[in-house]
Symmetry: C3
Subunit: 276 residues, 3 copies
Amino acid sequence: MAVANSAAGNTKWLKCPGLSRAVSSWARASHNDTMILLFTDFGYEGPYVGQMKAVLHRLAPETRVIDIIHDAPVWNPRAAAYLLAALARESEVGDVWLCVVDPGVGGSRLPVVLDCGGVFFVGPNNGLFEPIRRRIPDASLTSIDWRPERLSATFHGRDLFAPVAAMIARGEVMPGGSVAVDKQRTGADWPDDLAEVIYIDAYGNLMTGIAGSTLNDGHKLRIGSETLAYARTFSEVPAAALFWHRNSSGLVEIAANQARAVDLLGVAPSTPVAVI
Amino acid sequence: MAVANSAAGNTKWLKCPGLSRAVSSWARASHNDTMILLFTDFGYEGPYVGQMKAVLHRLAPETRVIDIIHDAPVWNPRAAAYLLAALARESEVGDVWLCVVDPGVGGSRLPVVLDCGGVFFVGPNNGLFEPIRRRIPDASLTSIDWRPERLSATFHGRDLFAPVAAMIARGEVMPGGSVAVDKQRTGADWPDDLAEVIYIDAYGNLMTGIAGSTLNDGHKLRIGSETLAYARTFSEVPAAALFWHRNSSGLVEIAANQARAVDLLGVAPSTPVAVI
Amino acid sequence: MAVANSAAGNTKWLKCPGLSRAVSSWARASHNDTMILLFTDFGYEGPYVGQMKAVLHRLAPETRVIDIIHDAPVWNPRAAAYLLAALARESEVGDVWLCVVDPGVGGSRLPVVLDCGGVFFVGPNNGLFEPIRRRIPDASLTSIDWRPERLSATFHGRDLFAPVAAMIARGEVMPGGSVAVDKQRTGADWPDDLAEVIYIDAYGNLMTGIAGSTLNDGHKLRIGSETLAYARTFSEVPAAALFWHRNSSGLVEIAANQARAVDLLGVAPSTPVAVI
């Protein structure tokens, strides 16, 4: 079973061009092409995303901010980590990912930046960046020593991570510098691919934490009592038939043609899957 | 009954200024005032809208992107087409509508651009642009021959339609050119106004696909076993009373004062209505 | 009980820097740092927010628009007013708040602008700005005399308030001028702090309309049959334990550690709370 050992031969899974260009991380020349991408579990309702974006706009008014996802696995940095690694595959130099899945906010977990040669990930040191870290050998994980004048007990996304993302987007050196924390990282014992349901989309498709590139078309997927074969896309199976495919973010996904796989299977996030 | 034949005398329903200004479609001088407007059935959760916007920002960083609606009738290009025609009424030269209600993604349906003299609609050739096409006599419908290096089987919104919308926003000629497909268009047999519920909004109001301008105030609307009279607005009827009015997008809409029409009527999208 | 009389000693609750800088309200020199912040009860689905943003972009293309919240208390300007006052605390000169919680749209309520010395609030004169007005002694409330060419009966957010917000963001004098309406303001009899649940967030936390600064840590909060003690943050109480804290917007909030307070208490918006 190829899943557990896939990363070694797969270091370009995150196609980060920064790895082949010499980019000084904390002091980039220009911010014209910078983009801040938001990855949170805040949900789509309420003021939290907006408050964070207001801070970003005040501190980096020329930087475009893109909402990638706000319903990442809630309070589940492990599942969220594999989703983030998939969504971040197409990152380009200058991208700053602001990532907040942070059940330990207000506790002792460190705030960190993962620098993948010009693509940055800002967030809590709770394993959220571990799958990316593992795929980018030259990436460096450093603690954020800077603290804002006012730090609420419950909203570091707005008060700490957003200002740091803005500083990086502006090409500034963070006051206080940073310290490598590669040795303290959470998730070092996590698998390279997570063989469970990590996200259920609005159409009822089940994303797993398994990279599509680690399976061949002959592999089958077992979930509950069902065994599913591969199909390239929806229209290649009969209506309501279940199958697995490589989704548009590169993950192994369980889907059904013109039907909701989640309802057909009656499963929830974190349900394990097995590759056979 | 005026509904079925309304379009002939109603060609300015889409108030597209481009029709009276000579605009070279594929090569506009400036993109400063360009706006890309998103119309999809992706829903508001999950990463799909964000991934599409990230592509738009990379390819047309100076163009503002506006989310008009992401809960257009799911997998229902016919109902969505009449909603789009209503929402697009106020378009101005330079607007690029990126429209993805595309149940046939990955199949044989063509990607197309409808050019209404400087207002563009990019999306699948499944009838989504048919009501607009019919109201703008000079509009041209052309196929998109360009293909990206990487085209996923399931996400043409991100991989194909978004890059094309960005090219148009930048005033570029599309590589590969385009071919008129006016003769192959889907929906040529659809009515000018769609006498059914096409969208139910968050307040429980029921939008129909009937242009408000085709009815006079004496018309009544029949839905299920109810017959509804016209009122100008909510406060002109008693609390919880049902009525029809011309909504802020110009459509005939069924509503109730301080109550949810959808709950009072117990109806679903696609329920037919009759004008009497 | 300190709640009812807190505002007198609390006039800086809205930390509006404009109060200490001399800013000519209607004619600011530059709009580079201007931001339009949206506060509505439109919900997150449907076309209404997008249509409003399209208007803003056409009229003030250089101004960033931030969605602060779109699920403000529906049709409840009183509860919404206290939430707005909390969210607007961090406003800066140049901010234009576009606020639409407007059950009286189409009726006789005036459209108004509250000018807090360079921070503006545009919306209906239904009390929505009253708590802010009361905390900023120099603020002026003026009616909006300008009317658009086309004013729908039901969507003043798009047709009237958005264009006015754009004019202010551009630093323009509003055609028609404005008249002080301080004497006609709604909500003059409302309390300084609203001792009820005004908003329930996606995590099930219950925000009240009580400013956190008006209570000390020894105060207890009574809701239903429960009496809750203060804790600084979630991790300071046992799992599933209820407590009150000052939330990241400065409001007294009822929460539970790793659980949904709303479900534990079984309460709804507008439930009264008592400080003891």
